[in-house]
Symmetry: C3
Subunit: 456 residues, 3 copies
C-alpha cells in the first residue's frame, strides 16, 4: 500500500504506546520525530537530559535508567563503542526489547555483528536488529520513494513481532530475516553499492573502449592518414552504432560461454562433486549482469539504427546516390537478391532484439519469482540460445559479401563486425557439439550425480 | 503461484473445515460460493433462513445463533449499521474469530474503523479485518488477474493465522498488516483511485494544454493569418511532437526543483528540524509521478520522431528539396559542421532517453525493493541529473543557430523550445551552485543533524 | 537481498546446528553440500554407511537410526515408494521435524500428496513440505538466478519456522503456504511448464499461420500466377508486418469479447448465480496471456514499420517514384488531405501502442500488486477499451479509400486488414450497445446480486 503520509493517521489510542530511544544523535532524533508523528509517546534516554536541546517537540528526555523503565521497547541509537556502558544498568534492561539500529562504516568491520555484540553484553535482554537499512533523512522528510523494507532479525519471536508492529505503523514493511545470526548480513547490506555489478562493469567498459578505438582507427584515422579526409563526424553516431552491437554480441556470448566451460570441465573430470576454478565461479555469478548490459547495448543499437534516415549525413549521401543516377541518366535495376539480403538481415535483427527483450523482462524480480525453476530454465536457456543464434545470424547476413573482400581491408585490419563474430560462433559450435546425444547423455548423468566408471 | 482455478483442488479432508457467514448479501454469497468450491463447509446465518433463496447450492442456512455455534470462524458480511444486533448473542460469539469484511462508501467515513467498532461492541470476540480489498465479482468468476493480496489485521495472532489460512486455500495471498489499528487504512484502501496521481495529473495537463496552444498559435494561426496558408495537418503529429518533448523536459526539471528549494530553505534556516511549507511537501511527494509522466512523454517524443521518414508530409518536402537541387543543377556540398550538429543532437537525445528508461525501470516496485538506500539514491540522484543534463543539452544543440534569429520570431514569440529551457537551465545552474564545496559541506552537516551556530 | 555466495558467511556458532539427511541421492548430497558450506553439521542416514562414497567432504554417514538421533530436523530425500521403511523406527522419529523434499514425475500422480502420505505413516512426527521447488544443480553451483522462493507448508507452526530458518540461512526466501493440505499444490508446482500459456499459444499460432497464408496467397502467389512476377522477398518483412498487426488487433478484441459474452449471458439468464459454460471460463482465464501476445505482436509491428526507410526495397521504390516525377518533369502537388490521412493514421497507431504498453506495464506482478481492485479495473477496462478503439481507428484510417476498390481485390479476396476489422468492430458495437443506460443499469444490478423478477 502506498500512502502519502507514510504513517497511520493519529489515533488517540495509539498515544498509549511508548518507545524509548537511547541516544540523541541524528538517527535517534529522526526516528523519534517520525514516531511522534505516528502517535507514539517517545522518551529519549540521555546522559545529560538538560543539555539535549535538539529533541523533537513532544518528546520527553530523561536519564537512561529512568527512560528505560517507561517502555518495553528501547531503541539503541548509539555507537557500538559505547555499548559497554549499558551493562551498568543491565538489571533494568532485563527482559526488555532492545532494537539495534546501528550501522558500520565498512563491510565486516568487526568479527561479530553489532547486534550479536549487544546480545552478548546483555544476555537478559531480547535484542532485535532493525531499521538500519532505513535512511534517517528519508524517515523524517517522509519521501520514502525507495524501498520501504525493514529487515528484522532476532532470537525472540515476540520481540521481533513487537518491532515489526512499530515498523508497520510507520508505513514500512517489516521482513523477518530469522535469528540474530542474520544481523551480520543486515548490517552489511546498506553499505553495498551494486557489488554484483563491479566485475561486469569492468568487462563491459574494457570491451567498449577497445572496440571504440579499433573503429576509430579504421574509420577516422585511416581516411585521415591516407586521403586527408575529415570523417570525425562519425564519432557521434556511426561509430557508437558499431561499438554497441559488437560489444552486445560479445557479451551475450560471454553469458553462455561459462556454462559450456563448466560442462567441459565436468565431462573431463567425470564428476560434478568438485569445485570449479574460482574465476569460473565468479564469471557464472555475473552472467545476469552481463546479459543486462548486452540488452542495454542492443537497445541503443536499435535506436541508433532507427534514427538513420533522420540524420543529415545519411540523407546527404542518399540524395547524392540518387542524383548520380539522374545525372548519368541510368536507373539501377531492382535486384531481388539485394531485397532478400537487406530484409532478412533486418528481420533477424528485430527478432533477436525481441527475444532479448523477453529475456530482460523475465529477469525482473517480480516476474522471475512467478515462474518455477523449470520455466525459468526454459526461458533463460532455450530463449537465450535462440537470441544468440538470431543475433549471430543477423551479423553474418549483414556481413554478406563483405567477408571475402580481404584486399579491401584497411591497414589489413578486418572490419570490426568480423572480430565480434569470433566468440559467438565459437560458443555456438561448442554448444552444438555438446548436444550430440552421446555427450549430452553423459553430461545429464553426471549432473544427476553419476561419477566416472562407466563408458559412454 | 498462479493457478487457473484459484483454489486448492477439493480434498475430502477439507470438508471438515467450517466457515460461518453472517449475511446473505452479494459479498457473503460470493465468498460462500468460493469457499464451497474450495472444499469448505459453509453455513449462512440469516434472520429468516427460509426466505433466503439465493444461497449457493451446498450451503446450509440457519438462524444466526445456531449458525454461529457450528464454526469458530464467522465472517461478518453485514453493514456496519447492523452490527448492534450482534450484541444480542454476545455470549455465543465469545472467543470466536469474527472476520470483518466490510467497506465504507467514503474515505474516513466514521471516526473509528468498522472493525474497531465491532471489536468494541464484542470485547470477548477476536476481530480480524480481512477480505475487504477483494472484489466479490472477481472471487466468484475466478478471474483474479488483479492483486491477490488480502490485507489482514487483528489483535489476536492465532485468529489472524486462521483467517490467513482460509485466504491461502482460496488461492489468495494474505498479508499481515499488524494490529487492529491498521483496520482504518485497510478500509480506506479499496476506495482510492490513484490518489498520488491527482496533483501530477493536473500539473501535466496544464502544461500540455498551454504548450499545445502556444505551438498552435505559432505554427497554425500565424501562417493562416499572415499567408492564408493551411497548415492544420501539423496538428496530428508535428505539434504533438513539439509538445511532448517540451513538457517532458519541464516535468523532469520539476522533479529536481523541490530538492533544490528544500536545500536552500535548510541552508537559510540553518537546521533540518523544522517542517517545510506544505506546498513543498506535497510537491516532493509527487516527484515520482511527475518523473513517470515525463518518461511517458519522452517515449512518445521518441516514436513520433522515428516515424518522421514515413510521413507523407516529410517525404514530400524531402523530395521537393531534392528536385530543387536537380532543377537548379546544383548540389549542396556536404558540410562537416552540419553533420556534427545533427548527429550530436540526435545522440544526446538517445542517451538521455536511455538513462530516462533506466530511471523508469528502477522505479518498478520489485526493482526498487531489491536495491538498498545507497544504491537507490545513486540511481535516482546521479542518473537523474545526468538525464536532465543530457536532455537539456539535446534541446540546446537542437536550438543551435536558431536562438539568435530574433527577427525571425513570429509575432515576437520565441520558438516553444526556448521556453522549455528556462526551468531546466535554472535547476542546473542552482544545482551547480549547491555543489560548490563550501555550500555542499554545510548542507551535509545540516542533514546530519547539525544546527546553526558555526560559520562556513 | 542479493548475495554473491547465497549463504550467510560461516559463523563458528552455527556449526552447532545439526541437520540430518536421509538418502544419499543427488538432491540429498547437493543439499548437504550447501548446508556444509553455510556452516551446518550434516549427518547422512544411509542403509549401508560404508558404501556411500559420494558424500560431500565434512559430512558424517551413519545408519538411519543413529543419524536420526543426532538432529531434530531430518530431511527425507528418498523416493515416496521407500517411505514405508521409516515406520520401522517410528519411535525415534517421534516429535522430530521431517522435511519432505520429494517431487513426483507427473502432476497429481498420487491421490494424496507425498507429504501427507508421510504424515499418515508417521503420525508422531511433524512433517513439513519444503525445498522441492529448488533445483539441486542450482543449490550446489550457487547460481540461483531464478526464484529463491521456498514454499513451505505443514501443520506445526514451530516446525515450519525451524525449516524456514534453515532456508533463510541458505540464502533462500521461505514462503509459508499454510497447512499440509497445500503440499499437493507445492508438489505439482515444479512440474508445470507455463500451463496458463498453452491455450493462448495455440490460438495465437493458429491465427498467425492462417493470416500468413492468406497474405502469401494475395501478395506472392497472385503476382506470380498472373504476371510471373517474383515478389518472394516480401516474406522477410512486408508480410510479417501485415500478419503481426492483424493478429494483434484480433487478439486484443478476443480479450474483450468474453466479457461481452458473459454480460449477454447474464442479461439473458437474469442472474449471476449460475456458472458460465466451460469454454467461456477457460477463455476468460487466458485473457491476460492473449493480451500479452497481442502486445508483443504490436511491438514487433512497431519496429517492423520503423525500419521501413532503411530497407533496400522501400528505398528503391521511393527513388523510382521520385525519378518518375523528374523524367516526366512534373511535381505532384502537396495535398493537405493526404497529409492529414497519413499523419492521423500514424498518430492513432502510436497512441494505441502507447496505451498498450501502459496496459502491459500494469500487468507486471509487482505493479498490479501495488494497485487496488478499483484502480486495476480502471486501467484494464477503461484503458483497454481506449486501446482497442485507437487500434481499430488506426486500421480504419489506414484503410481509407482502399475499402471501396472492390474490383481491385485480387482473386476477389479482400485485403487482409479488412478481415482483421471484423471482430474488433463487432466487439466495439456490442460494447456500445451494452453501455446504453437501460442495459447497463440492469447489468450492474445483476452483478450486485439482483435476480430477475423486476423489469428494466
Amino acid at each position: 500500500m502506498d500512502y502519502p503520509l507514510n504513517c497511520v493517521p493519529d489515533h488517540p489510542k495509539e498515544s498509549t504506546k511508548h518507545v524509548c530511544i537511547f541516544g540523541t544523535g541524528d538517527f535517534g532524533r529522526s526516528l523519534g520525530y517520525k514516531l511522534l508523528q505516528c502517535g507514539y509517546t517517545v522518551i529519549f534516554g540521555s546522559r545529560d537530559p538538560n543539555s539535549s536541546n535538539l529533541i523533537p517537540k513532544g518528546a520527553e528526555v530523561l536519564k537512561h535508567e529512568e527512560a528505560a523503565k517507561k517502555s518495553t521497547i528501547i531503541v539503541i541509537a548509539i555507537h557500538r563503542e559505547h555499548y559497554d556502558f549499558l551493562t551498568g544498568f543491565a538489571d533494568i534492561l532485563e527482559g526488555k526489547v532492545l532494537v539495534d539500529v546501528s550501522n558500520n562504516l565498512k563491510i565486516n568491520q568487526y568479527p561479530e555483528s553489532n547486534a550479536e555484540h549487544l546480545a552478548s553484553l546483555l544476555p537478559g535482554a531480547k535484542v532485535v536488529k532493525a531499521f538500519n537499512t532505513v535512511s534517517a533523512w528519508a524517515l523524517q522528510s517522509g519521501t520514502l520513494d525507495a524501498s520501504k523494507q525493514v529487515f528484522i532479525c532476532g532470537d525472540d519471536a515476540k520481540a521481533k513481532e513487537a518491532v515489526a508492529e512499530v515498523a508497520r505503523s510507520l508505513g514500512l514493511t517489516p521482513l523477518d530475516q530469522g535469528s540474530l545470526l542474520a544481523a551480520n548480513e543486515i548490517e552489511n547490506y546498506p553499505l553495498q553499492l551494486f557489488p554484483m555489478w563491479r566485475l561486469p562493469f569492468y568487462i563491459c567498459a574494457g570491451f567498449t573502449i577497445l572496440i571504440f578505438l579499433y573503429c576509430l582507427v579504421i574509420e577516422v584515422f585511416y581516411p585521415c592518414a591516407t586521403n586527408k579526409e575529415d570523417t570525425s563526424y562519425l564519432i557521434a553516431i556511426s561509430i557508437p552504432n558499431r561499438v554497441f552491437p559488437i560489444v552486445s554480441l560479445i557479451l551475450l556470448a560471454l553469458v553462455y560461454l561459462p556454462g559450456i566451460i563448466a560442462a567441459i570441465i565436468q565431462l573431463y573430470r567425470g564428476t560434478k562433486y568438485s569445485r570449479f576454478p574460482d574465476w569460473l565461479d565468479k564469471w557464472m555469478l555475473c552472467r545476469k549482469q552481463l546479459g543486462l548490459v548486452a540488452l542495454a547495448y542492443a537497445f541503443l543499437h536499435a535506436i541508433y539504427t532507427l534514427v538513420m534516415p533522420i540524420r543529415y549525413y545519411v540523407r546527404w549521401w542518399a540524395d547524392k546516390y540518387l542524383m548520380n543516377q539522374i545525372k548519368g541518366n541510368t536507373t539501377y535495376p531492382f535486384q531481388n537478391h539485394y531485397a532478400w539480403m537487406s530484409d532478412s538481415y533486418v528481420a533477424l535483427g528485430i527478432l533477436g532484439f525481441f527475444f532479448y527483450m523477453l529475456l530482460g523482462i523475465t529477469s525482473l524480480p517480480s516476474v522471475s519469482n512467478a515462474v518455477n525453476w523449470r520455466e525459468f530454465r526454459f526461458v533463460q536457456s532455450k530463449l537465450g540460445y535462440l537470441t544468440l543464434v538470431l543475433s549471430t545470424a543477423h551479423t553474418l547476413v549483414y556481413g554478406g559479401d563483405r567477408f571475402i573482400f580481404g584486399p579491401f581491408y584497411r591497414w589489413y585490419l578486418p572490419p570490426a563486425f568480423v572480430v565480434s563474430l569470433i566468440i559467438p560462433c565459437a560458443v555456438l559450435v561448442m554448444k552444438f557439439i555438446l548436444v550430440i546425444p552421446c555427450l549430452d547423455q553423459r553430461l545429464t548423468k553426471i549432473r544427476q550425480g553419476w561419477e566416472r566408471g562407466a563408458k559412454c
